[in-house]
Symmetry: D3
Subunit: 237 residues, 6 copies
């Protein structure tokens, strides 16, 4: 049962794609191959709603590539899940966003949890997925307010800042698990688990596991309404 899952990085920074794929590999089952997808057009990181528009364009581009090369399922590796719903319309196989996957995973191991994200301005991206998933009553959102560019080469120098904010969430919000609010924070999973003593959820790994599970169940996106395949009228960007 060999499968291929494409991890689509909605920004154009290939080193970030590689790092994200590497970090998520352990969450895949042995027979599953992870490939990265990096858009040729878009922005270097996704921090604003404008970035999200271009991130979604990039997601669609990579899903089209994936469909032609026989990809079985997709993970969208951007906190906020930009382009996930559109990708579901194009892909034969299941598509899972890192945010929804992280929230559902946290909900299986903790009564309440917190998202720690980077720029304050991206808080709305978390709030939007919380409204979609209905988990607002169990999750708070916090930000350390540094730009995403700050972690382009790795996030270890932000370990103290993220840990401090997560500790506040544990003390003040009664959070019992931490959701990392950016794909670029994956290298903090180990250090934060040790430091905080609570589950630390990394959404790309969570999403890879969920796509793997959907494929194992033979379940893919419903075509009965919202995610029916669109008439092909896509422009070439």
């Amino acid at each position: 049962m060999s499968r291929t899952i494409m991890v689509v990085n909605p920004n154009t920074t290939r080193t970030m794609t590689d790092a994200v794929v590497a970090a998520a590999r352990t969450a895949a089952t042995p027979g599953t191959t992870l490939v990265g997808g990096t858009p040729t057009v878009g922005t270097a990181s996704v921090e604003s709603h404008v970035d999200e528009v271009w991130g979604a364009v990039g997601v669609l581009e990579q899903v089209r590539v994936g469909e032609q090369s026989g990809v079985d399922g997709y993970v969208i590796a951007c906190f906020g899940d930009t382009g996930v719903q559109a990708a579901r319309e194009l892909a034969r196989g299941p598509v899972v966003g890192m945010t929804e996957a992280a929230l559902f995973t946290a909900a299986l191991v903790a009564a309440r949890f917190t998202i720690v994200t980077l720029p304050r301005r991206t808080r709305e991206m978390s709030d939007r997925v919380l409204r979609d998933t209905g988990l607002s009553h169990r999750c708070t959102v916090r930000a350390i307010d540094v730009p995403v560019a700050d972690i382009a080469e790795g996030a270890l120098h932000e370990l103290d800042a993220v840990a401090a904010e997560a500790s506040l969430a544990i003390a003040q919000d009664a959070a019992e698990a931490l959701v990392l609010g950016c794909a670029g924070l994956a290298d903090l999973v180990g250090p934060l688990r040790e430091r905080l003593g609570v589950p630390v959820i990394e959404g790309v790994a969570a999403a890879v596991a969920m796509v793997d599970g959907l494929l194992a169940q033979g379940v893919t996106t419903s075509r009965a309404g919202t995610y029916a395949a669109p008439d092909r009228r896509e422009p070439s960007a």
Copy 2:
């Protein structure tokens, strides 16, 4: 106090832009000029999430045009409000989506109301704005399930279908007003008001009035977080 409001049609069908602008003109104050914005790239109508991605690209293109030509505020004329949040980041003046405007307007004249949209698959676009605005407890969503293309030349032949669905909403959902779920239904406003005897809200007109009102109050988009201007890293599509 002369102002210019651009009504951005997220699809590439110029005749639709012209019709929408014409229909909304009466809602503008005497000193306000309405101009239409039609993207050069995108899809002919917006029915799917894939279409919404390209619709948002088109919205950004037209807002950039508008910013260069001194537009004071923007209406996004697509049910579902694609691109509205991104447009807020780019525009100096206020940006209002036709869906949020229609819902807030309906809430001022009716305790409960209904949206009648076209294809069943677009129901999620209404649900999403209902979650964002918090008005789910006062609004139901119904569809007559015809493609948007069906009304490309006008919607009068769908009068009976929309009226029938709205009547069901009045009888079964206790709806007291009707929100038209597509910019292309504007020519039904008059006939439906007469037929149904309840307020019929057309979102583009509602949004024009709200942008006019924001400009009159001297209120524009907050820059304090979510809608701060992004670093300019936009690609050329």
Copy 3:
């Protein structure tokens, strides 16, 4: 297109009516005349639920006056929107409360916002309108806890207190806009905008703009249920 909008002040303090009307005038379109309505019976300010009962009586009195003199639409100038629903039953034209108008306006320019009200005890009035409008998930409520009487002659001496509370909301609640929680705070709009750098929404101005917009769209209150005209059985108070 000349219209008359009556701004009904639910308390009996005529100087407050005059101040409120003056402050809201810029939000009206050129062809619109604003007139004030001050009840002959009621309380000097509205701070309690008992006050609200008498405020509603005063609102009805003034709407009856307005209906006889051809008023086209009404703004109810009391935070908490006392009497708005009853007024809708009596008036031919649209009726908008300053609170609902302020909340909808804030929702068009900010992802999250805060109300700063005066006495702590009036917090429930804000909460009630938040429940009605469904915007609780995007709005917090704060109080500086001074009596309304304190600002009878103007509110400038409370600038520091309101600004301090609003700053807390920006920092702690991630608020991106401020809604003034009392019609008597209108003279703080300018100073607060300058001080805080975020949109400051004054509900009477917001409501005037919304009534103007409803009139422009030819939309008035639905008669299909909740707001049908009552059988005339009103007592003379």
Copy 4:
């Protein structure tokens, strides 16, 4: 431990007060005296928001009478609970609305329930209390759409209509109990219980029991904020 509870009928129809007090008597503990309160000013029945304003004025009038004559607690006998919050500010003892009492009572004996009210237009009064109490997720609202005047002399001739609507709620809404949506329906309690085989909740009786219970616990309205006694500035109506 002898106590007096006043059942305030917000309309001016004394026969209705008498009927309501008689019906609720069995719910009172042996040591409790029920007295009726009928306003001298107001409307003959409460069906509209305008009626509610005058109903609230009548409630306040009777609470003042009650406070002077040593009443220990109050029941407001109008579906929609008009004036309850204002009455809490005036009364030393507890004040309970028939609607909130009915809903809490139903929630103790059924997972889901329905309100059957009279005129369709009063549905919003039920919805409002459902929002206040938070029980919307367990309760539907239905109407038989006859005017309240229709049951001025008793409601037995509406037994079939109410039973039919309640049966629909049991079948379609999975309702497991019925809440009577008008104080004037009290004489249907027995016949409906027999006919439907589910609990039938009459709000005035429910509220009498709750006021009795609050008095037994020594609990009265909080003075810490919302319901603090207002400064006495009430006009004479």
Copy 5:
């Protein structure tokens, strides 16, 4: 009208049953006899979900005892209401949990309130009942984080801790009443009322009053669905 209400203590500590029954006695009407029910199997206190499972087993055991001895109604004296829904299926008469009773009681005397519970880990039990009752929008949950065992001999030594946390709730959450989050805190009712000046709700007393009221109204659990009597297939534990 003589009635017997059994107060079921879901833990096996008989001294706690006696204390709880004694404290609640004043809330019962003169004709009502309170008897305690202490399970023969279970845990010494209920702090975890595992404890709750055994607490529910004990509740069922005692309800079976009660049914055989003619008990008219039941109060389940454990914060979190473990076993309440199952008990409703077994008992002829009404069954009320101390948590739901406390929340509904608080909602009758305060716009917002707070629960102060003991171990942090039991917070989820409060949250669960808040979701069931729908009162999350009016109630916060706080913990002083001591084990239940700490108050086995009385809770007076925790007066300062509970009062401090309640004071924070009044100041920061705008709470206007306090709900005691454990049956073992009943001896704090008097001292806390004096100290805090707000209503202090003790759930067992609240539930006794509500069962008394249901019996007076002739209302018991619906058999129409959720709480229909189960086929008797219970094992002997």
Copy 6:
């Protein structure tokens, strides 16, 4: 990486355990061994809240067995997720209920979905998990109202009934996927997918995939509050 997941059937019917384990096997990764757990005490099926109490006792018994034999994670195979929270306190590894797993899975492939359950009386079990997970806004609950015993030997004879109810959900609730509301319906997955053309989610398979995924991510239950290991005070049933 060889793992063992125990699928705990909360009722005492071993043939049902075997069938459930067999059906879920394909959802497990190649290295994962599924073992069944059948309680020695309890009820033959779980349809009532009383059954759920005994089901939870059985779950705890089997989790203790599993902990002693090195089980890595648990699936609780009862719609309603009885005992899941308690099991989390006892188990070192993750514990997932079939209901929460099914709902999260459905949410990844459909905008809206429906649960079709068996006896009407179990509807509340679905509603409870919907409240916990927050997915009420995307899911309806329907019942075919036959006892669980009816499908003891397989569910194929109920194919028409389930399909009919699911078709109603697709037409009336705009459902886009079906969640099977009982572990005993697993043999309908294939036929229903073919008949309905929408995703059909079987919760045990979904939960096996999620436990597998949690183990792959190295994530287990948080010990920071709600699910901390209890002091061992369990009685022997």
